[in-house]
Symmetry: C2
Subunit: 211 residues, 2 copies
């Protein structure tokens, strides 16, 4: 298909598509004539993945590029791919030395994960995110340690075991990783939204009945 | 305490504190002499809340202002306060007409929540977030309906029931809302981080053992 059709099918403007082509996020179409490429369903799929990562995942195009690069590198084993995708989705590494309370919380999180027996990369950005949550609670005056997260860890463990077991056996490796990345972003959004809605529901019940 | 001490205690620079004072996010200190205010523990607490909302919650100062305004408005009943805090934390309303697939997904989400029997404001921004997750999955070629979220809804329901039941009976209404807002932001961050870590753990187990 031509770029105009690709734009119509994807709902993404031609200038944006051309920008992605220039940045190497989208591979060039097959050259039919000078300045006229032929695009396939794979291009359409790739465009949709980019938009999902940007719109729902809130990723920068630089982060998106890292994920796409990993998907396209056939030498990477699939389990490393998941790690790369997760790392790209996480917060960026420190630009400067973290404050003392943050550094301490990270050590506690590492110990917590060790106690749980989870096999997780030492560089996983979610370790930092978890430490940040702990620091936030403490700075607001709650005297808590990592045990405050135990119930959440148990829920996450059950959920992830089920999710990983039910990852559909997709055709290509690109499809497998796409499913995992989209699954991470979409179901995470859903889980957070549903928790807030359920909190509103239970708060309404508790505080309206009390009032 | 003086503004210099407030800065030292909170780790927030004096220019930033002065900016919050000008913007009305932080109430003025008691006037001791011209251009010299006296600040209390309440100011420190308020500063920490602002930073937590900005740093961990990712809120804009405008959104923070809405929450603070609600906390400080004594006429608002507590259950409405929770709603306001949640709404400020959610995605902003549409600037333009949503695409057809988004509009359809929102209708499905409304029906889904009705089936669940949850009492949730029709304007809750998390309704839109949930519809967005559904649309993302569909745009990536998964033929799914809201039932794909059923397991997540059940988990969210259990979790929120426990969370709301265990909200500590805080002293003042400001404290109660602060605890809820910080709890929403911090435990949400923790839940998302733990799910990703657990996914990495279970993926490693599944795909390393398969390899």
């Amino acid at each position: 298909m031509r770029v105009s059709e690709l734009s119509r099918e994807s709902g993404i403007s031609i200038p944006t598509i051309k920008y992605y082509l220039r940045e190497g996020l989208l591979p060039p179409g097959e050259q039919m004539a000078p300045r006229q490429g032929d695009y396939s369903r794979d291009h359409l799929r790739r465009l949709r993945l980019i938009r999902a990562l940007v719109d729902v995942g809130g990723l920068s195009l630089k982060q998106v590029g890292k994920i796409l690069w990993a998907i396209d590198d056939d030498r990477l084993p699939v389990n490393q791919l998941f790690g790369i995708a997760h790392h790209a989705l996480g917060p960026p590494p420190d630009q400067e030395e973290p404050p003392a309370d943050v550094a301490r919380a990270r050590g506690e999180v590492d110990q917590f994960l060790q106690r749980l027996g989870w096999r997780v990369s030492p560089q996983a950005p979610s370790r930092r995110a978890l430490a940040e949550a702990l620091v936030t609670l403490r700075r607001m005056g709650r005297e808590v340690d990592t045990e405050v997260f135990e119930r959440y860890a148990a829920i996450a463990d059950d959920l992830a075991a089920w999710e990983v077991a039910t990852v559909p056996a997709a055709g290509s490796r690109a499809e497998a990783v796409e499913q995992v990345v989209i699954g991470t972003v979409a179901f995470e959004t859903a889980l957070v939204a549903l928790r807030r809605l359920a909190q509103e529901h239970h708060s309404t019940r508790r505080f309206t009945d009390e009032a």
